[in-house]
Amino acid sequence: MVKFLPLQKAVAENLRDGDTVAFEGFTHLIPTAAAHEAIRQGFRGLTLIRMTPDLIYDQMIGMGMAKKIVFSYVGNPGVGLLRRARDAIENGWPNTIEVEEHSHAGMANAYEAGASGLPCAIFRGYRGAELAKVNPNIKSIACPFTGEILAAVPSVRPDVTFIHAQKADKKGNVLVEGIIGIQKEAVLAAKRAVVTVEEVVSDFDDLHPNLTILPHWTITAISVVPGGSHPSYAHGYYARDNAAYLEWDEIAADRERFCAWMQENVIEASPDDFAARVAGLRNAA
């Protein structure tokens, strides 16, 4: 049964040291507030899965929480590199991390297979691409009808997935709209799912029947965190804080500046701070 909980409690009840966890969001609806709460609670030894591990994984890696990352694009989208992830991979700071790298198609198919309860996914992928040589989790199978060789990857099955969504209704059904990304698959592939939402409405009766809704019995906990996606955005609520993505490039470039920023904006902050951060971005949505 889904529970409506304060974010502090939702994270504490559902994330554990050593978990395999996905904080998903494909540019849109990134669960920043949940990630910051996880940082405050100081988890260690996490396997972090995400197609596009942007700022929040850069932050978690920089804070020493990651044992391994599984990803397909470890960049600051539209800006450049992720400097904390680079520092960990290139220099082992603050700790060395394992890397399991796929393409977007590989990760998307792996999540889809996870949501589908399958052990693996097959697709036409990686031909001539060198990732298949450095990642032992990329194998191949022959089509039993045509003989064509297809790529195979194991499905993604996180212990827990965190997403941010526009709204829940009172029963705990969750609506995701706009760029829906990989969120539905990430939730359905996981053993537990925690969703932060902009708001709770009484019901979804007036919604179009074909929208992306996660029924309440697919969700473990819901926390209301207005602005919880900042500096990403929530379609219909507030715009992307592109300046924050540009600024992150400078903050993350220096270990000390990074640590100071994290102390001020994450460790000493709370989920309640997110609403104010998006106040100036609501008109632009």
Partner: protein, 264 residues
């Protein structure tokens, strides 16, 4: 005719290669600018697809990321990421995949993964994202990048996405039945693969550019076509379209938070 920068020439030359009927899978950066200039000039009905799931977008400003809200607001439809890669890319619906590159070799092979050794990289780059499958499932591939000896190299450090491999029929030998890279647009020239060897060959020099300039900023020995012409300079309309787009984009990206990230 206004004066124009090499980068403007590159973007405009790239935009001209796109047709009204194309279904184009758009990478961020120079490809995105070129695709939208095409849409705003000679190819109003071109279908632009971004890997975030937005199909048939017509953004008024260039997205900073591949998932900015405006891509969805203006799209014909927005689908999930698995559907994007399964039905639309792998399904063979994309006519042109438009890619940039950190490192490129003369056969159109691209590296955006690492500089140095994969296990112990000198520089860890963002990685392939959608590119490994864009490179094999799109009907053909256009590449655009500013020339430099660091970027255009004899041997790339990592095969993020496959172009023509070692050249010739290497794609077919790997069971890839799409055309691969058919066009390279740099800030200095337009290149096409040799029909047999598949090595990129300069077929047009941008206005005022010399062969020597092209060679000096390229890490391999450049082949030039026997009959080479000059890229038509940007028209006023093309330049204005690109500059207006970039001005709108700059204002928008700095705008919402008054140019300042919103933390306390």
């Amino acid at each position: 005719m206004s004066s124009f920068s090499p980068n403007e020439m590159m973007t405009i030359a790239a935009s001209r290669a796109l047709k009204n009927e194309d279904v184009c899978f758009v990478g961020i950066g120079a490809p995105s600018a070129a695709c939208n200039v095409a849409r705003l000039t000679h190819a109003p009905d071109i279908t632009l697809i971004y890997e975030s799931g937005t199909i048939g977008t017509a953004p008024d400003v260039l997205p900073l990321s591949i998932g900015d809200g405006e891509l969805c607001d203006t799209a014909v439809t927005t689908v999930s990421v698995p559907e994007m890669f399964r039905y639309w890319l792998q399904g063979g619906r994309v006519t042109i995949g438009f890619l940039g590159a950190a490192q490129l070799d003369k056969f159109g092979n691209i590296n955006t993964t690492v500089i140095g050794d994969y296990a112990n990289p000198k520089t860890r780059l963002p990685g392939g994202g959608g590119a490994p499958e864009i490179a094999i499932s799109s009907g053909e591939i256009y590449i655009t990048m500013a020339q430099s000896k660091r970027g255009m190299v004899e041997k790339i450090d990592f095969f993020t996405s496959f172009g023509h491999g070692e050249g010739g029929d290497h794609r077919q030998r790997l069971g890839i039945d799409t055309k691969g890279p058919t066009l390279l647009i740099t800030d200095l020239a337009i290149w096409k693969p040799d029909e047999i060897t598949k090595e990129f060959t300069v077929v047009l020099l941008h206005p005022g550019v010399t062969r020597e300039q092209v060679q000096e900023s390229c890490g391999w020995t450049v082949k030039f076509a026997e009959e080479m012409d000059t890229t038509p300079a940007p028209t006023e309309r093309e330049l204005k379209t690109l500059r207006d787009l970039q001005a709108r984009t700059k204002a928008a990206h700095e705008g919402a938070g008054e140019g300042k990230a919103a933390y306390r």
